[in-house]
Amino acid sequence: MRRAALAIGALALLGWPWVAPSYFVFLASLIVVNAIVAIGLNLLSGYTNQLSFGHAGFLAVGAYTAAILATHWPGAPVPVTLLAAAIVTALVGLALGVPCLRLEGLYLAMATLAFGFVVVEAILNLDGLTRGNDGLRVPPARLGAWALAGDVERYYLVLLVGAVMVWAALNLARTRTGRALLAIRESEIAAQASGVHLARYRTLAFVISALYTGVAGGLFAFVVGFLSPDAFDVFLSVDFVAMIIIGGLGSVPGSVAGAAVLTVLHDSLAGLQNYRPLIFGAILIASMLFMPGGIASAARRISAMAGYPDSGPPSRPTIQGDHA
């Protein structure tokens, strides 16, 4: 049953460029990029209760790393550029995660918010590398002699990387690290009492989260093809937080669903021009009021009502009001 559903889903994703118009292939790539960020953010916020309003900054670090590498080394194969984006961003995550250990809740949110601004300032000031406000044109991703210049090629690249990231995130929960992170989510004191090194795992969550967002940043650079500091404003960070809240804190499928909903919503509201922020905000508030556990918990409730009690993940239901 579950396997059949997965196979159908995989076929639908692989066949998408043959049935959908070109624009929707591009949109699907954006959804996957956002989903990777949402999964990364969820590993941090959903697992260790550390809220970040600075993930647009991590996305920028990853995007600029990949773009600068691809510009200065024209033949760079795309696995190398993405790996570089992941490593550089993870290191930045480490650098931010260590001082942030002392901060909780609102103070942590403020520190990460500031980080987002610092990244934008750094991009502006390193204009020899980043071309500052003028923006950086990103050459197509390459695999040997093959340039992934079309929407369809880029979609398959993004889809492949996205699948790997989703698989890794789902399996993380079964590793020692994942169990430790889940234990921290349930109760920090209980986790410490059972021998979980709190500081180490909270920092690790920061690093993994940054790594995910760095990979997404590299893909973002190739999908959009042009970077400028204006792309990574604070509202983008807020969008990422909205994705995991709407999707469901602590849930990988929820992150993907949240990313899909928000990306499509942004796209379909673009035509409403000045009313867009208003309507967007109203939808966010409504979904938080009426669907507090996000899409993931709503889906779980629906499937439980339909008589599939075992279709949810093994861990406890998503965090509700008790942590807010």
């Binding site: 624009y23 400028s228 204006d230 942004h266 673009a270 035509g271 000045n274």
Partner: protein
């Protein structure tokens, strides 16, 4: 009649029908245009005025008069909030989903530059982008809107060094493509007059305190100080100069800066300041095109005050209408490009007679103004930039 003949007939008919139907955005009754612009974010006011009160105003007038060769013009606007990735998404959507004929009047260098390659590769005309960087040059399907920096520089230096005989120049510029492209052009044009810039100070985008830079420039004792900034910091520079009593320099604003918002922000510190104006005064000018613009605005959007941004959009709408009319009933993207390239001495009643030609620039001239009693007073006729 046999099957083969019938098939042949079908083939001939369908081939004949292909060109007419293959032209995106043009139907028997409609021409669809669109653009991604700022309706939220830092330039939301400009974006809204440019499109919904400028371009759309011109097209409402055209549609009420019967359209272009019987076709009504419809516009689709999407918000990008000045973010390049959303401009890319919106532009792809306009081209691939909405099937627009051309992209009209998008705003700002980052969002516009992000879409250049895509539009050029897909042969979609990008008409009159509202940004002044010369990166749009040398592309077949792109027609620049705002006057590019090197043309502005030539008009400014030739007037100040040639006619007014000033010798010592300095510049306060924004540290980005806008500022640096002006700085390079100033140095080149001053070189032609055997002069060079005595001092230049940069301002980061978004910074409002410019007192240190103003003090350094004062120490260089220039006769003329160029302001290559956006309204906020430029007004701040004028106030700072007033505060420290620096009177023996002529402050001069560049084309993109010389607007009503800058005047309003600077208040009485702007008195006596001069500059290159790319547009006639939208409120007071007696030019026939500007008068028509004000009458149309009064008729269709009586609550909206006239300003440069809606005037620029109105002009973009007029220019498209003129080219589409000349291209005739069989309008195609290629015929539009060819027609625009052939426009010679077109009288808009707003700007100087326009000849576009192979450079694809639709705005090439400005005139000199001085601020007197809080308004721009015109001092010269249209200056030459060739």
């Amino acid at each position: 009649m046999n099957l083969r003949a019938a098939l042949l007939l079908v083939l001939v008919v369908s081939l004949a029908a292909v060109p007419a139907h293959a032209q995106p955005g043009v139907s028997d009754t409609e021409i669809v245009l669109g653009g991604s612009n700022s309706f939220s974010g830092p330039l939301a006011f400009t974006g809204e005025q440019l499109t919904k009160f400028g371009v759309d105003l011109a097209f409402r007038v055209v549609n009420d008069a019967g359209g272009i060769h019987g076709r009504r013009v419809r516009t689709i606007w999407y918000d990008d909030g000045y973010r390049p990735q959303e401009a890319v998404a919106n532009t792809k959507k306009l081209v691939e989903q909405d099937g627009v004929f051309a992209i009209l009047a998008p705003q700002g260098s980052p969002p516009v530059v992000a879409t250049l390659e895509y539009l050029e590769a897909n042969r979609v005309p990008l008409l009159f982008p509202y940004q002044s960087s010369p990166v749009t040059r040398g592309r077949r399907y792109i027609f620049q809107g705002m006057t590019v920096s090197d043309r502005s520089s030539k008009m400014m230096i030739d007037y100040l060094a040639g006619q007014r005989k000033y010798k010592k120049f300095a510049a306060l510029y924004q540290d980005d493509e806008y500022g640096k492209s002006f700085l390079t052009a100033f140095e080149k044009d001053l070189g032609r007059h055997g002069l060079k810039l005595a001092a230049a100070e940069s301002v980061k985008r978004g910074v409002t305190d410019v007192s240190a830079q103003v003090a350094k420039l004062q120490a260089a004792k220039p006769e003329v100080t160029f302001l290559v900034l956006v309204p906020g910091p430029a007004a701040q520079a004028l106030k700072e100069r007033q505060k420290i009593g620096w009177t023996d320099t002529l402050m001069v604003s560049t084309g993109p800066l010389t607007d009503e918002r800058y005047l309003a922000l600077a208040g009485d510190a702007a008195e006596g300041v001069e500059g290159l104006s790319l547009w006639p005064d939208p409120v007071a000018s007696d030019l026939p095109g500007v008068r028509r613009y004000r009458e149309d605005m009064q008729k269709y959007f009586p609550k909206n005050e006239p300003n440069r941004y809606s005037l620029a959009g109105y002009f973009a709408g007029m220019l498209f209408t003129e080219a589409a009319k000349r291209a005739g009933r069989g309008l195609t993207r290629e015929s539009l490009v060819a027609t625009l390239e052939r426009i010679k001495g077109w009288e808009s009643g707003i700007l100087a007679p326009l000849t576009i030609g192979p450079d694809h620039e639709t705005q090439k001239q400005g005139f000199w103004v001085r601020v007197e009693k809080g308004r721009f007073k015109q001092l010269t006729d249209w200056l030459k930039s060739e």
